[in-house]
Symmetry: C2
Subunit: 252 residues, 2 copies
DNA sequence: GATTCACTACGTACGCTGTACGGTGTTCTC
DNA sequence: GAGAACACCGTACAGCGTACGTAGTGAATC
C-alpha cells in the first residue's frame, strides 16, 4: 500500500545526497527552519559536547522541535552529517586576489583545513564515508583548481594533489584531535601524554623484539618540533613533489 | 562498596590499551577463548557483514558464548576494536632480507597497507580514534624504521614519513572502500559511478559559479589512470620528497 | 584435604539510539 | 470550498552498549 505520511522513506528511494532533495516543495505550510539553521545547530552541539551528543533527539530539541519533525528536513541521520560537513567547509576563506606564489597559497589553504579540524575535532571521524560533495566543498575544489591553473598540471594531477593534501590534513588533524580528546578526558598534560607514548615505545624496545625501534630511540634525540612545524613541512613536501617532475621512474 | 563481580569496570580505572591488561590472571578457571580467537571472529564478522554487524552480541554469539561473557576478555567495545586493528595489522609480510632499494621496499609496504584496506574495507572507518599501538603495529613500525636505517634521516623525520605514507594509504583506501560499499549497496557499476560523479561536477560547473572547475572539465581529458597507478605515484612522491633535501625554505 | 576467593560464565534489565507509523493541523493549488 | 501536499509530533519498536547480580569452577593457601 502506498503511504503518504511524513516518514523518511515512504517506500521511495531516498537520494544519496541531501542536495539532490529540494529544500522545500511548493505546497503546504512553510517550514519553520532552514537547512543552514539545522546544520549550524548540529555543528554547535558537536563542538560543545562531542559528536556522540549529536543525536536526532538532541538536535531536534536544540531547534525547539519534536524529534520526528527533523525527518521533514533530512531523510536520515546520514544526510544530517552531510549538512554538518558542508557547514564547516564553509569556513574556508579564499583571499582574492590569491597570493602570487602557488606554494604559499596552497599551504595557507591546508593550514585553514587543519584549523577547521581543530575547531571541530569531530570532523575527521565523520569524514570517513562515501564522499558527498556539497556546495561549500565545490567552492573549495574550484578555488584549489584555480590556484593550480598556471602550474601545467593536467586536471587529473590537480585532483590528485587535492586528495593528497586533504587526506594528509584530515589524517593529521584526526590524530591531533584524538590526542586532545584523550587529554580532555583523562586530564593529563600534553607533556605527560607525550612522555607516556615514548615510555610505551621504550618498554617495547627493551623487550628486544624491535631492534630498529630501539636503535631509533637510542640515537640522538631529534630536535623538538611542534605540530605546526611538522604540518607545514609535510604539506610543502607534498606540494613540491607534485609541482616538480618525478625523480626517477616509478616502481618495479 | 567494593565490587568483585565480573563487570567491565568495577569502579576501577579501565586501561586505555587492551595490552595493558594481562590476558589471563593466575587464579580461577582457564578462559575458554583467546584474544586472538576473539579478534579473528570479530574481523571475519566485519568482513562478511560490515562493521555495523560487529556488536557485542553478534561477536559473542559467533564464539558460542553469552553476550556478557565477552566482557571477561574485553572491558569495552573500544578494546575489541583495538584487537581488530592489530589483527589485520598482522597481515603485513616483511621480506627478509629487505629489498636493497629503499623506495621499492617502502612502496611495497604501502601497497600491502592498501591491500589490507581492500580486504577489510571497514578498517579506515575504525582507525580514526586515539592511536593505540598493539604488537603488530609495533612490528610494522620497527620494520619501517629499519628500511630507513641508511637514509640519514633522524628518528623524527622517519616517523613523519611513516605518518605521511600511512595517512595517505588509509585515506585513499577509505575513499575506495566507501565507493565500493556504495556500489555494493546500490548495484551500480564502477563506470556508472564514475560517470555520476563527473556528471555531478558538470552540473555544478554549468551553474557558472565554479569557473575553475569548468575550465578543468573543459580542458583535455587527462589520460585514464587506474587506482593502482595513482596510488603508486602518490606514495613514491611522498617517499622521494622525504628522502631528498627540501626544495626552498618553508612558508612565510 | 578443606577453605578461600579470583575468575569465568551469563540472564536480566536500563537507558539510549535511529526511525517506522499514523494522526492532526496548516497552507497551498485548483 | 475541496483536496492534496506538507509540517509537526506522540508513540512504539528493535537493537545497541553495558551495569549488576548470581552461580559455578578450580588454583592457591592453609
Amino acid at each position: 500500500m502506498a503511504r503518504s505520511g511524513p516518514g523518511p522513506d515512504s517506500g521511495a528511494r531516498v537520494p544519496l545526497s541531501i542536495w539532490d532533495l529540494p529544500e522545500q516543495g511548493g505546497r503546504g505550510p512553510r517550514p519553520k527552519h532552514s537547512r543552514a539553521a539545522i546544520a549550524a545547530a548540529a555543528v554547535s552541539l558537536a563542538d560543545a559536547e562531542g559528536i556522540d551528543a549529536v543525536t536526532m533527539r538532541r538536535v531536534a530539541a536544540a531547534l525547539g522541535m519534536g524529534t520526528m519533525s527533523l525527518y521533514n528536513y533530512v531523510p536520515t541521520k546520514e544526510h544530517l552529517v552531510q549538512l554538518m560537513i558542508d557547514e564547516v567547509s564553509s569556513e574556508y576563506r579564499y583571499p582574492d586576489p590569491a597570493p602570487p606564489d602557488h606554494r604559499v597559497a596552497l599551504l595557507d589553504l591546508a593550514r585553514q583545513g587543519w584549523g577547521i579540524t581543530q575547531r571541530h575535532p569531530w570532523l575527521p571521524r565523520i569524514m570517513q564515508r562515501p564522499p558527498v560533495i556539497g556546495p561549500s566543498a565545490l567552492r573549495y575544489i574550484d578555488y584549489f583548481l584555480g590556484l593550480l591553473s598556471g602550474s601545467g598540471l593536467d586536471a587529473g594531477a590537480k585532483m590528485e594533489l587535492l586528495a593528497l593534501v586533504n587526506g594528509f590534513a584530515i589524517s593529521y588533524g584526526g590524530v591531533q584531535a584524538a590526542l586532545a580528546e584523550e587529554r580532555a578526558r583523562t586530564g593529563v598534560s600534553e607533556q605527560e601524554q607525550a612522555a607516556a607514548q615514548v615510555a610505551g615505545l621504550v618498554t617495547a624496545a627493551v623487550s628486544g623484539r624491535y631492534p630498529n625501534l630501539a636503535a631509533a630511540l637510542a640515537g640522538p634525540p631529534p630536535p623538538d618540533r611542534d605540530a605546526d612545524e611538522i604540518f607545514d613541512r609535510c604539506v610543502l613536501r607534498l606540494i613540491d613533489a607534485a609541482l616538480s617532475p618525478p625523480h626517477g621512474n616509478g616502481g618495479p
